[in-house]
């Protein structure tokens, strides 16, 4: 069963360029169907996982000598659902949006590969295998960022690639050191072996390498510099995927698996993560305040929001992890929504420069409305979902006696509110800017995707008890079990 999460998108990706020649609309349909399928598959697992069950699959079932296995616990399932959900809406959105880029077959093939890579990364129980799937998603994302082939896109993709490669080489070196000392790659075995057979300094070096590598993938300050270039340059649905999903899967998820489940969150790492998180939170928000480019502002805001997640994870208390995971889910919804809206605005008006926009709310009612919801969500206004997760993180910070950090988090959320209201005022309210008189609302599928995501933001806020109980809590349980004890019993056997 679990293998389907990887195999299906991969098979669709392989066939996509061929199928694209049969009928022009086929890639769109196929993309949506595939994503709906993985989403359904994920939803199917919710009930049992929420009840504490874990799913396993291993190569033995293919008649091979059993070794490498896939496993799904609460944390994996949460990420799988986020991936499928956001990909589905990005696919719906792409139907109209990607029309003028051409080469839809290649686009969807790369998209599916990215999804396959992320699904694999989330499900695998093997450290090196994790790296392999991380690279699958990364290679696809390099090509997707540069998909428009213009100067900005290519420049962003090149810097993204060159910085990422440094990070992944660091990760590889750390893995080879770990392998030398323990002789295994399986996360379960590693947790045990690390505890018994590595000296403290080598663990420190490996942790530093992992933190740099995954920190760069998740764009924590000071490893963040690629993100404000890469995310705005990509086509809007890809921006949504990168900001909403990829940095969380290949950055946060992998980091958490390594730091929590292998090394058991040593206190030094906790404080290092806290510093990185606070830096990201503040610097991302401050720079976002000074942006004129809508998408670039969103990209910096992603850095800031990742800071919140990292801070929550750094606390290590169940409440902190819950806040972080819930914020991870929420950020995926509202940041993809905002990126899709930015794309829609650009699509309709031809610019994303906030100084050239103005008063488009009357011309773009749907986009304006959903954008307002996104703004409220990210700024933490109730009853939208961002409010609860930020609140939980702040509560957890105070509970763990990080009162200074809590104050910074509160101040940052005010800055967030500030720059998003500034954006709303500049772009959507006020007088209609010159040259935008003929602007029309975006086509159906783009509007549909944004409306669905906006509804998700609102529902996430209203039904937050259900979400925390059924989606977040299993993840919290599987992570908080790993802290300190270093005996990793959640994945694998």
């Amino acid at each position: 069963m679990l293998l389907l999460f990887i195999i299906v998108p991969l098979a669709v990706a392989a066939l996509m360029p061929l199928l694209a020649r049969i009928w022009k609309g086929l890639p769109d349909v196929l993309g949506m169907v595939t994503m709906a399928f993985t989403l359904g598959l994920g939803l199917y697992h919710i009930r049992m996982v929420a009840a504490g069950h874990r799913y396993f699959w291993d190569t033995g079932s293919l008649g091979l000598p059993l070794k490498l296995s896939l496993a799904m616990d609460g944390f994996s399932l949460l990420l799988l659902l986020i991936i499928s959900l956001i990909s589905l809406f990005a696919c719906i959105y792409s139907v109209n949006y990607m029309e003028h880029y051409g080469a839809k077959g290649s686009y969807y093939a790369l998209f599916m590969l990215m999804v396959a890579g992320m699904n694999g990364l989330v499900l695998t129980t093997d450290l090196f295998n994790m790296y392999v799937f991380l690279e699958v998603a990364a290679v696809a994302s390099y090509a997707l960022v540069a998909f428009g082939q213009k100067h900005d896109e290519v420049e962003a993709a090149f810097k993204y690639l060159m910085l990422s490669v440094v990070a992944t080489t660091g990760i590889l070196l750390a893995m080879s050191f770990v392998y030398l000392m323990t002789g295994t790659f399986g996360i379960t075995d590693l947790a045990y072996a690390v505890k018994t057979g590595m000296n403290a300094q080598l663990i420190g070096l490996c942790l530093a390498l992992f933190l740099m590598g995954f920190g760069l993938k998740s764009a924590m300050v000071p490893f963040h510099a690629w993100l404000p270039d890469a995310h705005p340059s990509a086509p809007a649905p890809i921006s949504a995927m990168l900001s909403g999903v990829l940095i969380k899967v290949s950055g946060i998820y992998a980091l958490v698996r390594v730091v929590y489940n292998i090394f058991g969150l040593p206190p030094q790492v906790s404080s290092a993560l806290m510093v990185l998180g606070v830096l990201s939170m503040v610097i991302g928000a401050v720079v976002a305040l000074g942006q004129n480019d809508y998408k670039r502002m969103l990209a910096y805001s992603s850095i800031s929001q990742i800071g919140y997640i990292v801070v929550g994870l750094a606390i290590g208390s169940p409440l902190g992890i819950m806040g972080a995971l819930f914020h991870l889910f929420n950020h995926a919804t509202f940041k993809s929504l905002l990126f899709l809206n930015a794309g829609a605005t650009e699509y309709a008006t031809g610019t994303r420069d906030l100084t050239k926009l103005g008063g488009v709310n009357n011309k773009l009612p749907v986009t304006g409305f959903t954008n307002t919801i996104g703004t409220f969500s990210i700024a933490g206004v109730p009853p939208f979902n961002g409010f609860w997760s930020k609140l939980i993180i702040i509560v957890a910070l105070v509970e763990a006696n990080y009162i200074g950090v809590a104050a910074i988090a509160v101040a940052t959320s005010i800055i967030t509110l500030w720059y998003f209201l500034q954006m709303q005022r500049q772009a959507f309210f006020g007088k209609l800017a010159a040259g935008l008189e003929k602007v029309r609302e975006v086509p159906f599928y783009m509007a549909l995707a944004t409306i669905c995501l906006a509804a998700l933001c609102l529902l996430g806020g209203l039904f937050y008890p259900w979400i925390t109980a059924n989606l977040i809590q299993p993840g919290v349980t599987s992570l908080s079990n790993a802290i300190g004890v270093n005996s990793f019993i959640n994945l694998g056997q």
Partner: protein, 178 residues
């Protein structure tokens, strides 16, 4: 410590330096190919014949071909001129880093554990059995590379303006693009 391996390692570093500091791109790429070949020899001597074969054929062969063809594609005009200071600063940086490196590595890897031998009877069983999901990843990443290159080297799509102009030229602007 095998003396030949030490010489190989030193040559490896030397070719790496050549690849970095040679001005001619073609020569640099060929240095890189030499470096790969030497690495392949070293891998062979470290009881890893399969990895050595892959290193020799794929990296020394295929990647060098890719490099050379791209260099040839872009050779006509004067490409970027390298700054001079890196070459002068490098020895100092190398000495500083080398000292730290030796110190750190000696403290970290003074004792390395001995494993229990290979778990499987053959390399094939390891690759296809133990690491079978990696094979899946390999397939995916090859697809990624191929589709990526295909997407990036496709005909540049017309911009919206050009396309609109083209449509206007064709049917007098009856069909609105945006």
């Amino acid at each position: 410590m095998d003396l030949l391996n030490l010489i190989l390692l030193l040559m490896l570093a030397g070719f790496a330096l050549m690849a970095v500091f040679l001005k001619d791109l073609l020569k640099a790429a060929i240095s890189l190919a030499f470096m790969s070949s030497l690495l392949a020899v070293l891998l062979y001597r470290l009881d890893s014949p399969f990895a050595a074969v892959f290193e020799l054929s794929v990296v020394a062969g295929l990647i060098t071909v890719l490099f050379v063809s791209v260099i040839a594609l872009t050779k006509e005009e004067e490409t970027a001129k390298e700054a001079r200071w890196p070459a002068y600063v490098f020895p100092l940086a190398l000495v500083v880093f080398g000292l730290i490196d030796i110190k750190v590595m000696q403290s970290l890897f003074a004792t390395t554990p001995q494993g229990f031998g290979n778990p499987e009877a053959s390399f094939g069983a390891t690759l296809w059995g133990v690491r079978s999901l990696d094979i899946l990843g390999q397939i995916a990443v090859i697809f990624g590379g191929v589709f990526g290159v295909l997407a990036l080297l496709r005909e540049k799509p017309l911009t919206a303006k050009q396309k609109e102009d083209a449509i206007i030229a064709k049917d007098g602007g009856k069909e609105k693009l945006w």
